[in-house]
Symmetry: C2
Subunit: 331 residues, 2 copies
Amino acid sequence: MADQVITLSDVAAAAGVSLSTASKALNGTDRISEATREHVRTTADRLGFRHNALARSFARGRSQTIGVLTHRASNPFTRVVLATAATELGAKEQAILLYDARIGDRDVTESILQLRARRIDGVIVIGTGTSFPSPSLTSRFDVPVIYAFTFTEDPDDVTITADDEEIGRLAVRHLLSKGRRRIAHITAEPHDNAAQRRAAGAEEVLAEAGLRWASPVRFGRWREDWGEEAVAELLAEAPDVDAIFCGSDAIGRGAERAVRASGRDVPGDVALIGVDNWEQLMHDQRVSRHLTTIDVGLEEIGRQVAAHLLDPDPQPGVRYVAPQVVTAKTT
Amino acid sequence: MADQVITLSDVAAAAGVSLSTASKALNGTDRISEATREHVRTTADRLGFRHNALARSFARGRSQTIGVLTHRASNPFTRVVLATAATELGAKEQAILLYDARIGDRDVTESILQLRARRIDGVIVIGTGTSFPSPSLTSRFDVPVIYAFTFTEDPDDVTITADDEEIGRLAVRHLLSKGRRRIAHITAEPHDNAAQRRAAGAEEVLAEAGLRWASPVRFGRWREDWGEEAVAELLAEAPDVDAIFCGSDAIGRGAERAVRASGRDVPGDVALIGVDNWEQLMHDQRVSRHLTTIDVGLEEIGRQVAAHLLDPDPQPGVRYVAPQVVTAKTT
DNA sequence: AGAGGAAGCGAAAGCGGTTTCGCAAATCAC
DNA sequence: GTGATTTGCGAAACCGCTTTCGCTTCCTCT
């Protein structure tokens, strides 16, 4: 267990060189003969030496830690981005220090001071992908700040987020490819940024195909019961609808139940496509799918965030992650 | 931005005391007059001094970092425990360093050495809550190790996990309370630990009520399509079944579709209860529910793990988190 | 052969604190 | 009033490693 830990000076002594030489040999820096370097290395290996990562980071002024600021860490989407980024960063020996806005009464300024005091190496701001822009904190840190699954008011911020318009386009294109022409859309609050943009993308493709919505877009909530409720209205108003683009899988689930309850077949009479890829999010491994959906690429966002953070100079601006259609039984 | 960061010697100088005195004053240790202590404190405040957490930890030999070992960080349950624990730990200034077994070819021994080199303050091992015991790593660290959502072979390990038997009991008790008597059970692989224990708990309550399963327990997979498939068989064999305890919400979803497809009403003819609380996991905020389910308490596991880690001496042994019935429209 | 430059290595100075230890002043006992 | 304690504070060592800087060698070129 607590077998005496080997320090760099032990290695240096054993190798018969100075502490500084040992350091340089192991770090690959500075001018050192290949022979010495190799000798120190093998000695270190033989002794089972491991750097005291803490002291090491400390001497370098870096903490090997990334600060993460979330609005609500319990949000399922936030969790996915968080877990993915943490995994990637962990593989690169970077720890994460999470400050959730919901916890404690620490305000943002306090969090920033704390993070700076800890000599954080970078910051990730994770949003919820919907309505509100994140305030730009970039100028308050002297380390890289990356925004994930949100947007900010400063166009020079490094942002990685979902491509909601493309999601809308993909959804309608998919339905069109299945021969559907009388398409409706049920989605969330009208002021929700993601809902708006998905609808806009969808309409764009629809217009290109010379079509219009089979019934006006129904804005409501990101909820299963709203899907159910909206479909009931929809079928009353446009009974011949043959496809519904649902703004989320939750809405899609509710919608499917209502469509079936009306005696219609899915996907025979009405095709359904959602957004989020719930089943994947809930299952991890590949599963047989039920609801056709669009994966917004949350894990990819997490991966890219980690990659950009380790990148010495990421290009500023918004980077959209490509969404993917996941075909299943409802289309 | 990069406003010159205040160091402890700045404070000492400004307060007209030595570095060591300043350190002691701010740490509350050693013999120091209250006047001096107060003076140093206000000076520090005035200057906006913040400890360099890194140097500080370093000097104390602690990293303010918790190591987290996961089997598969992309597992949705793992993510919940991880995110919750990270949030709680973040509130206590503890960072987490995540090593996922799936990433890289770093084996466990290597991870352990890395973590020890980093002078980690504690370790969390997060399992997937199902089949396999986690190997006990406690003796390989000299800091606290806590196992979450899994079990180990060493009864002295500190473990916090779900109470699968209680989940089974609650499910059947709930169905009985709704007046159901012809109850069936559809669940996952027969060798899955969670599936077994849930079934065992359920049978216990059933037996107490002088009942038996309406049809033998159907073991299959944790998947939606299995729920659909199993219900079809079940209804053929026991058409008068009036309630189904589904081993997971995914199974429950499939089951519901099949029950409705058979022309039966839910919950009129057949009541359904699942396990996992998917809707909550996918929504965070309180939503109107559809499927009655049992929340296994993943977030509570995460919270307790964080609390135990910060606790100077946690009691060894297994601690079960109480599951909760979440009533909705299917019962 | 001699000058100049590059390569290799170690001494020493940090990094930003904590902690031990010793000394001087203040308090106490008698 | 004198000696024994206690109290308050600072000098210095230390944590484990990185990095600068200067001193030797060893080449290379003329």
